[in-house]
Symmetry: C2
DNA sequence: TTCGGTGCAAAATGTTTGCACACAC
DNA sequence: GTGTGTGCAAACATTTTGCACCGAA
């Protein structure tokens, strides 16, 4: 429940924040600020873009959301439930596809932690390539 | 040799391009456009920032460079030789430490290629954490 | 000589911030 | 009522682009 997420993060439950979270939750893929904003516009809900950004940052800081950097450097967000995923992005059309495999970084994190003395708090793994559509066009 | 890299990519060998590549090659860590630009300034070489960006894009497109997205969404670049490394960065003091392990993404790339139809051209793996020094201070 | 490369200035993009007002608790 | 959250406009950082000139092949 979204209410619980907010309570756990000790953030007030405002219309705007709730709506933003529910859009992210119902999406199958991580969403960018702009995508969320457009979706809001489609549903004729007016929430300022700054508010979207502020909430995304806030919620990421409280670990409610996970920030994912896409191939073009823009940020997308998804609910931070422990089972997260990685994506491959096409460097020609910027489309993203889910890598539906278990996260391969988990074990690496432990090794690194031992070797370097770091407490590992997060990671970013991102593949870049050319999707099958763009491969066709290239020929 | 840088000349060979350029020839293979069928790009002209200009002073600017050569210099940019040599800076990236001699750096131990991936460099951002701004960092390259500053390094140039330090050496009193004047290359326009647009030129830096244009070359980084061009060289990435030709797979001479690998584009790496940092935690803040800015892009850094390194030479795309098969034997590359990954780093863990401390989110408090920004120090970086080499993960001296074989790159764990190689096998993943093949799996992904089969499953998604993408031609995998590169990847970025970056760990974030808190270094031992900062862990001490935190207590 | 030709076409790709460069410098410059200006724009586009994505994101953050200051301030006054509004609303959840 | 208090402090957090919001809208608005403006600033900011990074990156891209149009155009005229330049220089490597």
């Amino acid at each position: 429940m979204i209410e619980d997420l907010l309570k756990k993060a000790s953030l007030k439950n405002t219309k705007q924040r709730y709506t933003i979270l529910s859009i992210i939750e119902s999406a199958e893929e991580p969403m960018t600020a702009e995508e969320i904003f457009k979706r809001l516009a489609d549903e004729e809900i007016k929430i300022n873009l700054s508010t979207v950004y502020r909430n995304l940052n806030m919620l990421t800081g409280k670990n409610v959301l996970l920030k994912i950097l896409k191939g073009d450097g823009t940020a997308a967000y998804e609910i931070n439930n422990s089972s997260h995923s990685h994506y491959i992005t096409c460097c020609m059309c910027n489309s993203s596809v889910l890598i539906d495999d278990t996260c391969p970084v988990k074990e690496l994190s432990e090794t690194v932690s031992e070797k370097t003395g770091f407490k590992v708090t997060g990671h970013s793994l991102q593949l870049t390539g050319i999707c099958s559509e763009c491969l066709k066009k290239q020929k």
